[in-house]
């Protein structure tokens, strides 16, 4: 159920919302298989967050000599401010499933696995979740398998966790007191009923503002980053260029 925002594609809209989560003077990392967060962070780096430090896997030059181990160690030492994760399932409590659909012992679908996200979800100060589609199959009451846990108040070693969720229909914020998502904004033209119909848990509150989309200047700046995306995401970059026309 795509929504249409004049002047940009859905992926660019999501990337712009990602950019809004990036703060200047912080350490921000983007992992593998994340073209939309990468696009958003490149936009932030070229606009309001020029003084940050960036570990952007898939952006060509990466300032590491030990691969993902260096990213994981950075996070465990408490030096990673912002990271981005997604999931095959994301549940009401903010847990992520990157492991399997169905029972672990007899899965319907075996997924690639967590790749450090069980640790990163705790040790990164802010984790922004992104979903490239919004349906009740992704947004579930309870994950079939909790790869990364969001809500574990009894465990003392928690530096951070989920803060925001960006989807093609809406944005949500994570309420750490309740340990649940709260609807924060609906994208232009999306009704509460539509968003609720595509979400497998109750959304609240009902009345929220409309999500701010990118200005024409922001869209131009996003598009100026496409050559960098082409290095590691040639298929994504080509498809984006085709949609832009």
């Amino acid at each position: 159920m795509p929504f249409l925002f004049p002047g940009c594609t859905v992926d660019e809209f999501l990337a712009f919302r990602i950019s809004r989560e990036v703060r200047d003077f912080e350490r921000t990392a983007v992992g593998t298989l994340s073209p939309v967060p990468l696009l958003g962070v490149l936009h932030a780096q070229a606009s309001h967050a020029r003084h940050g430090k960036y570990l952007l896997l898939g952006a060509g030059e990466t300032p590491v000599t030990e691969g993902s181990k260096e990213l994981f160690d950075l996070a465990q030492r408490g030096k990673l401010d912002l990271f981005f994760l997604s999931g095959a399932q994301i549940d009401r409590k903010g847990n992520l499933n990157l492991t399997c659909i169905g029972p672990y012992d007899a899965p319907k679908v075996r997924l690639p696995g967590g790749a450090g996200s069980a640790m990163l979800y705790y040790m990164t100060k802010r984790v922004v979740l992104f979903a490239l589609s919004h349906s009740p199959r992704i947004f579930v009451e309870k994950c079939d398998f909790v790869t990364s846990a969001a809500d574990t108040p009894q465990y003392p070693w928690r530096r951070g966790g989920p803060t925001r969720l960006v989807t093609p229909l809406c944005t949500m914020e994570y309420d750490t007191q309740a340990g649940e998502w709260r609807l924060l904004s609906l994208h232009p033209g999306v009704t509460f009923e539509e968003a609720q119909k595509e979400t497998g848990f109750p959304l609240t509150p009902r009345s929220v503002p409309v999500t701010e989309g990118p200005s024409p200047d922001d869209v131009a700046l996003l598009r100026a980053q496409i050559p960098i995306l082409r290095n590691n995401y040639p298929v994504f970059a080509e498809s984006l260029e085709r949609k832009i026309g």
Partner: protein
């Protein structure tokens, strides 16, 4: 390992143990080290002394340091006095390497840092072929079984431009 608690890995991985950190008293997880019998990686260059320079972006070097024995394939051998790691590359001492094999384009159809990119057409062909057992068999017959290095290179020569 920090974090991690409350995930379902705790239910399915009995070898991941939760215990008190003897230094801070805080609860942490410990996981057993992975010790591969062999690591096989493709590096960018080797020198006459058996040292290698490999990608710094992947975990190739980590795999080598963890394994009992290691074979490293390299694009080329260069003189030791010209053996310098460039950005995106890292030095890997001969101390950790058991065998060096010269294998130009040895990462094909994958990429080799600072040498060549992914052969997308070939990867897409493999992905399509490997969807069925028959397709996979015919892929193996065409590119792998009974192939010599020279014939493989000739069969995939379009990748030279990548």
């Amino acid at each position: 390992m920090l974090g991690f608690a409350g995930s379902d890995y705790e239910k399915v991985r009995a070898d991941f143990r939760r215990l008190a950190d003897p230094y801070t008293g805080k609860e942490i997880f410990v996981v057993p080290a992975i010790v591969p019998d062999w690591a096989a990686i493709h590096a960018i260059r080797g020198d006459e002394n058996g040292n290698a320079i490999c990608s710094a972006r992947e975990s190739d070097r980590l795999a080598v340091l963890a394994a009992k024995r290691t074979v490293v394939t390299v694009e080329e051998i260069v003189p030791a006095d010209a053996f310098v790691a460039r950005p995106g590359e890292i030095f890997l001492s001969a101390l950790h390497i058991d065998l060096v094999v010269v294998a130009p384009r040895g990462a094909h159809p994958g990429a080799c840092v600072n040498a060549y990119g992914i052969d997308r057409a070939h990867v897409e062909k493999y992905l399509a072929a490997s969807k069925t057992a028959e397709g996979f068999s015919s892929y193996l017959a065409e590119y792998v079984m009974g192939m010599t290095e020279e014939r493989y290179r000739a069969a995939t020569s379009a990748a030279e431009v990548a």
